[in-house]
């Protein structure tokens, strides 16, 4: 017999009307084309009954969009060597895959916020003060992020040539959480955790030696509020932030 009509196939997949006749079933048994079509329609009818809704109001699109803009802008101004010259097609799973790091990256979000708030407000002053062989190479004020309170300063020190970051903030700690100090790169890709900030808001941290020179782009000083969850990644909740001038 001829192929089953599209309506009959759809009826069968939807469970509408008469069940397939013996002749139709015989045809199906011998016709891979009709069988495949019925299989796919039935699969869709089955999956369609298990909705998985998209809730646009739950998606933080503004924050993601800002991050995208920062990333695209930083790429546009980056040296040519970092510009991907030949992007593989989407069939290759490696396009712009972020290199894996520890702790896991959350920096894009921070940098996005930094681009919006920190870069504007964090215009610190570069001073060189010689004080017991400790130079203040540069400093910045730390300003609260929206919804946060607190104020502070961050100073890049050179103690006999070793780079250190001195942080002082005037903001109360949260009762069941702790604070951590980070240096974030303006490329939106990398960050270093410097350590836990004591409850009095004052601490000095040694920096990785490779940052002794010009901070290598790790200019954003960020103080995060961290839950006691054992997760080494940035919580993405920042209390204050500033940008050290280079």
């Amino acid at each position: 017999m001829a192929h089953l009509s599209p309506d009959r196939l759809a009826d069968s997949a939807l469970g509408i009307d008469d069940p397939l006749t013996a002749a139709e079933q015989n045809h199906l048994a011998s016709c891979a084309e009709c069988r495949n079509e019925l299989g796919e329609l039935s699969r869709i009818a089955h999956l369609g009954r298990q909705p998985e809704h998209v809730a646009p109001q739950l998606v933080p699109t503004d924050a993601i969009w800002q991050s995208i803009q920062v990333q695209l802008a930083s790429q546009a101004t980056a040296p040519a060597t970092t510009e991907p010259s030949a992007e593989p097609p989407p069939s290759a799973p490696t396009i712009a895959e972020l290199p894996r790091r520890t702790p896991r990256l959350r920096s894009w979000f921070l940098v996005a916020a930094a681009a919006v708030f920190g870069l504007i407000i964090g215009a610190g002053i570069t001073t060189v003060v010689v004080r017991d062989r400790v130079e203040v190479a540069s400093s910045t004020s730390l300003e609260p992020l929206p919804g946060q309170t607190g104020q502070g300063t961050a100073e890049l020190l050179r103690d006999r040539g070793r780079p250190e970051l001195r942080v002082q903030i005037d903001a109360p700690p949260s009762p069941d959480r702790y604070r951590e100090v980070w240096l974030i790169n303006t490329d939106g890709q990398r960050m270093y955790p410097l350590g836990v900030l004591p409850d009095d808001g004052r601490a000095t941290y040694p920096l990785p030696p490779a940052l002794a020179g010009q901070l290598e782009g790790f200019n954003i000083v960020d103080v995060s509020i961290e839950p006691y969850d054992g997760n080494p990644a940035h919580s993405r909740e920042s209390q204050v932030r500033g940008v050290l001038p280079t």
């Binding site: 759809a10 369609g48 009954r49 909705p51 998209v54 998606v59 990333q71 989407p90 895959e97 959350r106």
Partner: protein, 221 residues
Amino acid sequence: MTHSSYARIVAVPGRVRVISVVDDARREPEVVGEHTDWGAATEAELSIGFARGDEACLHEVFRRLAPLIYTIAYRALDSSSDGEEITQDVFVSAWRARDNYQVEKGSLSGWLIGITRHRIADRQRARGRDLRLVQAVTNTTDVQGQPETLSTLIDRIVLTEEIGRLPHPRGSILQLAFWEGRSYPQIAEQLDLPLGTVKSHARRALRHLRTQLAEVTSWPT
């Protein structure tokens, strides 16, 4: 189709015109659409603008498709932060690789979903490594039921979106049948439509879903 076609975007302050030159031999431009901004553009026009590298167009594509991409990544990885990272990564990657997107080969949403699929698979593989490491450290083995495949999850999310977008009464009929388990006679009574009409709409809607799903999954993976 043997016609070659290309498009030209004409942007003047406050207005965007999308002009598609359909027939290369005739060289006669055919105006596909004219909009004060991309917000009113059709998906086909957005695809053209995207491929041409219009950044305002990227924003509109993001506005429309980011919730879908995010939901897929979020559900697949069960993590809102992974969902955000992957959404960001997909749009940045797609924008940089936009030269690889060919309008005539398929829908932009399908292309973006294809990239999303790879990002999620990468992340799942990495997690598999993490999990094996944890198991090695803690000397445990975890036997779980087979989880839903990524492809099936994506199909379900895309189908939910498509069913939600079907015009009335087709959308109402399928939603009542699929999501609320009503019988077709019940639906006919509720919507005050002849039973034959309801069934006919349901058949067409199912075939429409099949076409849309094929479109989205047509990009090579």
